[in-house]
């Protein structure tokens, strides 16, 4: 299997799209990331590879460096050492805006939406569209009609049909719907990578289900996803590969179809050495 083709029909059941690391170039790669806070080392030479069209889950105990890793990749913090490559080219991500410009969109756990503003405004927050001509350039008038139409189209693209009115204030939405708005924003503007930090942490069972399907649809549109989650069933259900972070570095990449959930937890907590895992549990071992 080579480059996976992005699926266009979201109704089609998602099948395995695990890329073969030996033949594909990572979309996003981190090498030897180090981040120290005083005497505390949050990242101790962490690596990460994200391949086209995959969902890479990042799991790890508290303090394993998950959130530092994600913050580095989303431009929220600058690493002391190490490099980040986008499509094989080294990049610097000193600010969240720089990461966005590199095509990396992040759905923060806090969602980063303004509750009293409407859905369309939130989708375009920070990159509003202006009216053409003098109205836009001199009077700085917003093109509300176009933003509304495009917002509706983006929501439609991801199958979030039930949010019918993009003029609705975000605070009138349920937790899952707000998550959907934040995901839609990332999917609409991210052209390389979408990072999602604990997207189901605050949600009930039904809403989690819908958000997981939404993540699969983002992947099926061709955008690779990095998913940070504490919820092992969710990780094992939708991830193509599972990156295990421990003590500031990556200690294993697991294949969720060949690895038991209990083994993953054991590796994550240090109870099990990755070398002792059964055949097929590690992602990429078969390719070697």
């Amino acid at each position: 299997m080579t480059q996976p083709t992005p699926r266009t029909d979201p109704a089609e059941p998602a099948e395995e799209t695990v890329p073969d690391p030996s033949t594909t170039r990572p979309v996003l790669q981190a090498r030897g990331l180090v981040k120290r806070y005083g005497g505390v080392t949050a990242l101790a030479g962490a690596d990460l590879e994200l391949y086209p069209g995959e969902i890479l889950a990042v799991i790890g105990d508290n303090g394993a460096g998950k959130s530092s890793l994600i913050k580095v990749l989303s431009g929220a913090i600058v690493p002391d050492e190490g490099e980040i490559l986008v499509d094989g080219a080294p990049v610097r991500l000193p600010t969240p805006i720089a990461a966005r410009e590199a095509g990396i969109e992040t759905v923060h756990q806090s969602l980063a939406v303004a509750p009293s503003l409407d859905i369309a405004t939130n989708l375009f927050l920070g990159r509003e569209l202006r009216r053409p001509g003098v109205l836009g350039s001199v009077l700085r008038m917003l093109d509300r009609a176009r933003m509304r139409a495009e917002a509706a189209r983006h929501l439609d693209d991801l199958g979030i049909m039930t949010i019918q009115n993009p003029n609705q204030a975000v605070e009138t939405l349920s937790g899952g719907q707000r998550q959907a708005v934040a995901v839609a924003r990332a999917a609409a503007f991210g052209n390389r990578v979408v990072i999602m930090d604990e997207p189901t942490a605050a949600l009930g069972v039904r809403e989690s289900r819908a958000v997981l399907d939404l993540i699969l649809r983002v992947r099926d549109k061709g955008l690779p996803v990095i998913l940070i989650s504490h919820n092992m069933p969710h990780v094992f259900e939708i991830a193509d590969r599972v990156h295990v972070q421990r003590l500031g570095r990556r200690i294993a990449v697991l294949d969720p179809s060949g690895c038991a959930m209990s083994d993953a937890v054991a590796v994550m907590t240090g109870a099990l050495d990755p070398a002792e895992l059964p055949e097929g549990a590690l992602a990429g071992r078969a390719a070697r």
């Binding site: 009293s116 920070g126 009077l139 009138t172 289900r209 819908a210």
Partner: protein, 351 residues
């Protein structure tokens, strides 16, 4: 590693419920509906209160609805209303400005002194006054965004600083309007529109209303002001330069206060270092009565106009009815507490 044939859990689970507004099916009581309506239409409450107070005073005193009295209310409201417009911008960002009155008085004294005592041409005196207002706003904004102090503390300090500067520049003396250039008194001049005498100051206030309403609701800057006040961290993560937005808000507010200073000179035909001492709190009162939330991110310019009119109508109506001034303050105080309680209640709306 090749494609696995293990069926995905995803493919076997039935279609999940759509992300729909399921909570809406629960029956709503009348109070729920009122709460939702007020939440969706923020200016409805102030409009209703304004209408009720006007009706009440019209019934109590027959002179209340006379064009001359209405024109007087407009004049009395223009200065406070203008200060409240600047205050609205700051409260929308979840801040508060206690230095409004001081900035206005300082600017009016600067304009008056330049024109009356130093012989500077009136247009130049006006421009310097407007620039001073903006500088005062920038000073507050700098302390809020760079030194990262709470707006309450910053403006509590600058309230005293600006007021002291005002006493120093004025030498604690009132400057007579007759000594100033005509332009500075223009805001107090009267034009007759449809039998009602309106000051240019009142018209100027309406112009500011229109400009600010446009900027807040139709431009990127306005959306960023709301987003910053709503959730500052969210706005930052969404790529908004939050500090730049805040600084611009304080600068614009300072400029608006300076226009208020110009109106004040026209209204009292002089520049007095003691004028506008009560205006700090009255401007906050007008903003709050207008339905703008002290917690930021919610409110409208037009609501503030109504809030200022409510204060104006109450004070005017009560004095027409021969009620002691102390009860005017009492009534305004009660209104403020009611308005904030209402805001708290409306904010509880969830789905």
């Amino acid at each position: 590693m090749t494609t696995s044939n293990t069926p995905r859990v995803t493919t076997t689970t039935p279609e999940p419920p759509p992300l729909g507004p399921e909570a809406d099916v629960r029956p709503q009581s009348l109070t729920d509906r009122v709460q939702h309506l007020l939440h969706a239409q923020a200016t409805l409450g102030p409009a209703a209160v304004l209408l009720l107070t006007v009706l009440a005073f019209a019934l109590i005193s027959p002179n209340f609805l006379q064009p001359a009295n209405l024109s007087l209310i407009l004049q009395q409201t223009a200065v406070i209303g203008t200060l409240a417009l600047g205050q609205t911008l700051i409260i929308l960002t979840a801040g508060i400005d206690l230095s409004v009155g001081s900035i206005m008085v300082l600017c009016s004294i600067i304009m008056g002194r330049l024109s009356a005592d130093l012989g500077v041409p009136a247009p130049v005196a006006l421009l310097v006054g407007l620039a001073s207002g903006m500088a005062c706003g920038l000073f507050n904004g700098f302390l809020v965004t760079r030194v990262k102090l709470p707006p309450f503390i910053v403006t509590l300090g600058s309230l005293n600083i600006f007021f002291a500067l005002n006493l120093w520049i004025s030498r604690s003396e009132t400057i007579r309007g007759a000594d100033m250039g005509d332009l500075l008194l223009w805001t107090g001049r009267v034009v007759t529109i449809g039998g009602t005498r309106v000051t240019y100051g009142s018209i100027l206030m309406l112009v500011i209303v229109a400009v600010l309403a446009y900027a807040l609701h139709r431009t990127q800057w306005g959306r960023h002001v709301y987003a910053t006040g709503d959730d500052r961290e969210a706005a930052r993560l969404a790529g908004i330069r939050v500090n730049r937005v805040l600084l611009s808000v304080y600068a614009v507010a300072g400029l608006v206060y300076a226009v208020g200073a110009w109106m004040l000179i026209g209204r009292i035909a002089s520049a007095s270092p003691q004028a506008g001492v009560m205006d700090n709190l009255d401007s906050i009162t007008a903003v709050v009565l207008g339905g703008t939330s002290l917690f930021g991110g919610r409110g409208m310019i037009i609501g503030t106009v109504m809030g200022a009119l409510i204060v104006g109508v109450c004070r005017n109506g009560l004095s027409l009815a021969g009620v002691d001034v102390l009860w005017q303050n009492f009534a305004v105080g009660v209104l403020v507490i009611l308005a904030v309680s209402l805001d708290q209640w409306i904010r509880k709306v969830r789905r």
